[in-house]
């Protein structure tokens, strides 16, 4: 068992490197409030009651923060970063229970990282982030026009 004696040191080193990588990626999201809110909403992803309806709503709320056009720079930031938007969107479409376990665990891992101030440091999600997200989300749902089509799909228009 000699080979495992140093495992705490090895684990600490690799965790630090991994956290450095995550912080570098998350830093890209600070360029726009909508991306910051996306990170904030991700952290309550698992606190919304776990019915498919509520959870898919949670996912939709997150995905709606990003522009409709998938070629928009904000989507490109996320695509080149942690791919949160598309994963949440995919969850909303397929339902949580149909999501591959590794994808669910990836989102959970990111969520835990963001609320762990020791790991995420200046990028940790705090009360002010939640307050801003609440305000901006209220603005969002107050300004969006909702149209119900004949087959009960919900469409968003401007």
């Amino acid at each position: 068992m000699q080979a495992f004696r140093d495992f705490p040191v090895v684990l600490k080193r690799h965790t630090r490197l991994f956290d450095d990588y995550l912080r570098t990626q998350i830093a890209k999201y600070t360029v726009d409030d909508r991306l910051v809110d996306l990170l904030t909403l991700l952290t309550i992803f698992h606190e919304v009651p776990h019915t498919d309806e509520r959870l898919s709503y949670n996912v939709r709320a997150s995905a709606f923060l990003l522009p409709d056009d998938s070629r928009h720079p904000l989507w490109m930031v996320d695509d080149a970063g942690l791919n949160i938007g598309i994963l949440l969107f995919e969850t909303g479409q397929r339902g949580l229970t149909n999501m591959p376990r590794e994808k669910r665990r990836y989102l959970q891992m990111l969520s835990r990282f963001l609320v762990d101030k020791k790991r995420s440091q200046r990028f940790s999600v705090d009360g002010e982030n939640y307050a801003w997200a609440a305000l901006r989300y209220l603005e969002h749902i107050s300004s969006a026009r909702w149209v119900f089509s004949s087959d009960s799909l919900l469409l968003r228009g401007r």
Partner: protein, 75 residues
């Protein structure tokens, strides 16, 4: 890659949207919420003229209850 068209399988009830906002607010300290809302007063003015008045009224009631103060920007 799945389509990103904004079409969803089910509609969302207004109460659910407000529950979601309430969950966000519950994660913040009352003073943080108040500070943000007062800082962003232009946005609050926009909210006052928003067409979704029922949602706004409900939200104002909730935030007043949560903060245990009267938020004048909504009155």
């Amino acid at each position: 890659m799945p389509s990103r068209s904004r079409q969803w399988p089910n509609g969302d009830a207004e109460e659910t949207q407000l529950e979601y906002i309430q969950l966000l607010l519950s994660k913040a300290a009352p003073l943080q919420v108040l500070a943000v809302f007062l800082t962003e007063s232009p946005a609050c003015q926009n909210l006052q003229t928003a067409s979704n008045n029922q949602a706004l009224d409900t939200f104002a009631h909730q935030i007043n209850k949560y903060l245990e103060v009267e938020v004048l920007i909504f009155t």
